[in-house]
C-alpha cells in the first residue's frame, strides 16, 4: 500500500517499497478508470513511463533529485510543454506543439516529477466552471463519491444516473479533478481571478495562489499579465509547500519575478496561534453567500479565537467595486493578449486567403469561442481612445484603491485574512449552465479576484462537507511575499479540521479502500 500524500509516498520510494514505475502505472490506471471525468486533454503515458525509468535509476543509486522525484503530476493545458500538444482548451491552439517548456514545467521536470498529462480547462482559462473548453466540461469526482451519493440515496457505483453530475469549478477544473481522483499527487493550475482556488474549494483540495512575482509566468499562456500566476493544487498543505518551494524564485526569462532570495518552504508545525491576528472582512458577508458556507466561516473564526488568536472584523471598503474593476482590466488585457492569435505563425488558420484582414477575422472566428470573443470585443471597447480614460485608467485607479485596502488592513496588525472561497458547494452542471459565462464568473470570483488585483498570496483549504456531502473550503489571504507564513497558518487549520478523504469506492476494484486520516493514508490501487 502507498500513501496519498507526498511524505509517505516519498518515503516509500526511498525505501524501495514502491518504484516510480509502479507508482506511475497506478496513476495511469486511475486515469483510465476516471476517463469519464474528462479531466485530461492529453495523457502522456509514454513520456511518464520514460521519466519513471530515469527516476528509478536515481533511486537505485540512492540519489533522488528531491521530494518530487518519481512523483506523478498533471499540468493545466495553458502551460507550454515542449513536444507535447498545448491547446488552452481552444480550437485556436488545437495541434499546437510548443518548442519549449514553461519555466515551472521545467522546474518540475528538473526535480524528477513525472508528467501524467495536460489537464482540461475553460477555453483560455476564461470561466469559473471548466465547462467552456472545446474538449467538453470536466466532472467533479465528488459527484461519484460515497459521501455525496449516500446523501442522495444513490448507489456509489461509477457513472449510473449521470445526468446530475457536478461541476469542478474553474478554470483549472481538470487539474483539480486529476488530483481529487488520485491520478496524480499535485497539479499546476493558473490563477487570474480565482481559477485555482475556486476548483480547489469545490473539489476538496488545497489550492495555492502564490504572491505575484514569486513564481515565473514564462510559458504560461497569458490571460492578464498583471494578475496571472501559476497555481498549485494538492491534497494537503505540506505538499503544496513542497511544490511551491520548487517553483518559487527569480526567472531571468520573466522580468516580473522578484529578485529577492526565496526562503525555503519547510512549514513549521504551528502549535500556538495566540500571537496571530486574523482579520474577517465584513464586506465579504454578502447576501448571496450560502448559509452553510457562512456557518463554516463563523466556525473557523471561532476556532482561531478559542485557541487564543486575536480575531477582528476588518474593512475592505472598495470590495463592491472589485468585480467591476476586474471586469474592465481583465477584458482589456485579454483584448491585447489575444491579438497574437492571427493564424500566421502558429495555431489555427482558416482557409480564406483573400486578404490578411479577412484571414485574421475568419481564423479568429473559427478559433475562439463566444466567451473569448466577447471579452476581446469588450476589452477593445474599453481601450478605444474616447473610452480609455473613463474605463481603463479609471479601473487602474480603482485597482490601487483596492490594493490599498489590503495594505491598510495588514498595516493595522492583521497577519492573515479569513474569507469564504466560493458562495456555495459545487453545483450540478445543468444548473450552472443556466447563466452565461460572464455572469457566472462575476458571481463566482467574488471572494477571490480582489486578491489577484492586489497580487497577494492566498490559499483555499477544505474545511468540511456540506449537508449534501460536498466539500466546502475557506480562503486565507496573506501579506505580499509572506507565502510561508500563510501556508503555516493554513497547515494549522487543516490539522484542526481534519477534512475527510473522498471515498471513490465505485472506482476501485478493492471495495475495502476506506481512507482514514492523512497520517495513516494508505490506498490500495490494485489492478
Amino acid at each position: 500500500t502507498i500513501g496519498t500524500t507526498l511524505k509517505p509516498v516519498s518515503a516509500g520510494l526511498k525505501q524501495g517499497q514502491i518504484t516510480p514505475t509502479e507508482l506511475c502505472q497506478k496513476c495511469l490506471s486511475m486515469i483510465k478508470k476516471t476517463k469519464f471525468l474528462n479531466a485530461y486533454i492529453t495523457v502522456t503515458e509514454e513520456e511518464a513511463l520514460k521519466q519513471a525509468e530515469e527516476s528509478e535509476k536515481r533511486y537505485a543509486k540512492g540519489q533522488p533529485l528531491g521530494d518530487l522525484d518519481g512523483i506523478p503530476v498533471a499540468i493545466k493545458d495553458n502551460f507550454s510543454t515542449s513536444a507535447i500538444e498545448t491547446t488552452c482548451g481552444s480550437n485556436m491552439l488545437k495541434g499546437y506543439v510548443p518548442p519549449y517548456n514553461a519555466t515551472v514545467v521545467q522546474k518540475l521536470f528538473d526535480q524528477g516529477a513525472l508528467l501524467m498529462g495536460k489537464t482540461n480547462l475553460d477555453e483560455f482559462a476564461m470561466g469559473s466552471g471548466s465547462t467552456d473548453g472545446v474538449f467538453g466540461p470536466v466532472k467533479n469526482p465528488w459527484s461519484y463519491s460515497k459521501q455525496y451519493r449516500e446523501k442522495r440515496k444513490q448507489k456509489p457505483h461509477g457513472e449510473n444516473e449521470d445526468s446530475d453530475w457536478l461541476i469542478t469549478g474553474g478554470s483549472s477544473g481538470g487539474s483539480a479533478a486529476a488530483v481529487s481522483a488520485f491520478t496524480c499527487f499535485a497539479a499546476l493550475g493558473s490563477d487570474t481571478g480565482g481559477s485555482t482556488r475556486n476548483p480547489a474549494a469545490q473539489c476538496g483540495l488545497v489550492g495555492v495562489k502564490p504572491s505575484y512575482g514569486l513564481v515565473s509566468r514564462h510559458g504560461l499562456i497569458p490571460l492578464v499579465n498583471s494578475m496571472d500566476v501559476p497555481g498549485i493544487l494538492t491534497r494537503c498543505v505540506d505538499d503544496a509547500a513542497v511544490v511551491l518551494g520548487v517553483l518559487a524564485g527569480h526567472d531571468p526569462k520573466d522580468s516580473t519575478t522578484i529578485q529577492d532570495p526565496v526562503k525555503p518552504f519547510l512549514l513549521p508545525s504551528l502549535t500556538d496561534v495566540s500571537k496571530l491576528c486574523i482579520g474577517i472582512p465584513k464586506e465579504y458577508l454578502v447576501p448571496e453567500l450560502s448559509s452553510e458556507v457562512q456557518s463554516l466561516w463563523t466556525k473557523a473564526a471561532d476556532l482561531f479565537e478559542s485557541r487564543g488568536a486575536k480575531v477582528i472584523e476588518v474593512s475592505l471598503p472598495h470590495t463592491s467595486y472589485s468585480i467591476v474593476c476586474y471586469h474592465v482590466l481583465c477584458t482589456s488585457e485579454v483584448a491585447s493578449n489575444m491579438a497574437r492569435f492571427d493564424g500566421l505563425e502558429y495555431g489555427h488558420r482558416c482557409d480564406i486567403d483573400v486578404s490578411t484582414e479577412a484571414m485574421y477575422a475568419a481564423t479568429r472566428r473559427e478559433g475562439f469561442n463566444d466567451v473569448v470573443r466577447g471579452r476581446i470585443l469588450s476589452g477593445n471597447f474599453f481601450l478605444l481612445k474616447e473610452n480609455y480614460e473613463t474605463y481603463f485608467i479609471k479601473a487602474q485607479k480603482v485597482r490601487r484603491l483596492i490594493a490599498n485596502d489590503f495594505v491598510n488592513v495588514f498595516n493595522s496588525g492583521v497577519d492573515v485574512l479569513l474569507t469564504p472561497t466560493t458562495l456555495s458547494e459545487a453545483v450540478p452542471y445543468l444548473e450552472f449552465i443556466k447563466e452565461d459565462n460572464r455572469t457566472r464568473s462575476a458571481q463566482d470570483d467574488i471572494f477571490t479576484q480582489a486578491v489577484n488585483m492586489a497580487g497577494l498570496p492566498a490559499i483555499s483549504v477544505p474545511m468540511a462537507l456540506s449537508n449534501q456531502g460536498l466539500p466546502i473550503g475557506l480562503q486565507f489571504i496573506g501579506r505580499a511575499f509572506c507565502d510561508q507564513q500563510l501556508l503555516t497558518v493554513a497547515k494549522w487549520f487543516e490539522k484542526q479540521v481534519q477534512f475527510p478523504v473522498i471515498q471513490l469506492q465505485g472506482l476501485m476494484d478493492d471495495c475495502s479502500a476506506i481512507f482514514e486520516n492523512e497520517k495513516l493514508a494508505s490506498v490500495s490501487l490494485k489492478h
Partner: protein, 153 residues
C-alpha cells in the same frame, strides 16, 4: 466581539441560499450580475453601441460580433463597467503593476539562445523557405471600392 457583528449580519440576511440563480428564459438575453447589495437591475441598452461602433470594434479586434446576442452582451458589459463612475478617484494614480515599487529586471544584452528558425517555422500552416506566408493586405481593392461608392453618391 467580531462574532457578534457578523452574527447580526447573519440575522439581517434574508433566508435562502444563493440569491443569484434565477431561471433564465433561453429566448431572453442574459441577465446582468448583481454586485453585492446593489439592486440587480438588468441594464437597458444605452444606445451607445451604434452600427458604426460595431464596425469599428470588429475592425480593431478582428473578431466579428456574429449577431444581436453579442451586441447585447457588449451593452451589458458597458453598463456593468459604468458602475466604476461611483468611485471617487480624485488624486489617485493608476496602478499598472503591483510590483511598481521595484526596479524592472534587465539582463545583460548578450545572445544566449536563438537560431531556432526551423523549429519555429514548423508550427505554421503556411511557410515558404524561412518566411511565414500571409495573404495580401487589404488596402487597395477595398479602399478603391469604398472611395468609388462615396464619389458615386
Amino acid at each position: 466581539m467580531w462574532a457578534r457583528t457578523v452574527r447580526l449580519g447573519l440575522r439581517a440576511r434574508l433566508g435562502g441560499c444563493r440569491g443569484f440563480t434565477f431561471k433564465v428564459d433561453p429566448q431572453e438575453a442574459e441577465q446582468a450580475p448583481s454586485v453585492t447589495h446593489a439592486s440587480g437591475l438588468a441594464p437597458q441598452g444605452t444606445g451607445q453601441v451604434t452600427a458604426e461602433l460595431i464596425e469599428h470594434l470588429e475592425r480593431l479586434a478582428l473578431v466579428d460580433f456574429g449577431g444581436r446576442e453579442a451586441v447585447a452582451r457588449l451593452e451589458k458589459a458597458i453598463a456593468f463597467a459604468d458602475r466604476l463612475r461611483g468611485v471617487d478617484t480624485d488624486g489617485v494614480e493608476p496602478m499598472e503593476s503591483v510590483l511598481e515599487d521595484r526596479c524592472l529586471y534587465l539582463r545583460s544584452d548578450n545572445v544566449t539562445e536563438g537560431n531556432c528558425a526551423e523549429e519555429l517555422l514548423q508550427n505554421s500552416h503556411r511557410v515558404v523557405e524561412e518566411y511565414f506566408v500571409a495573404p495580401p493586405g487589404m488596402c487597395y481593392p477595398e479602399w478603391l471600392n469604398k472611395v468609388t461608392r462615396e464619389l458615386g453618391n
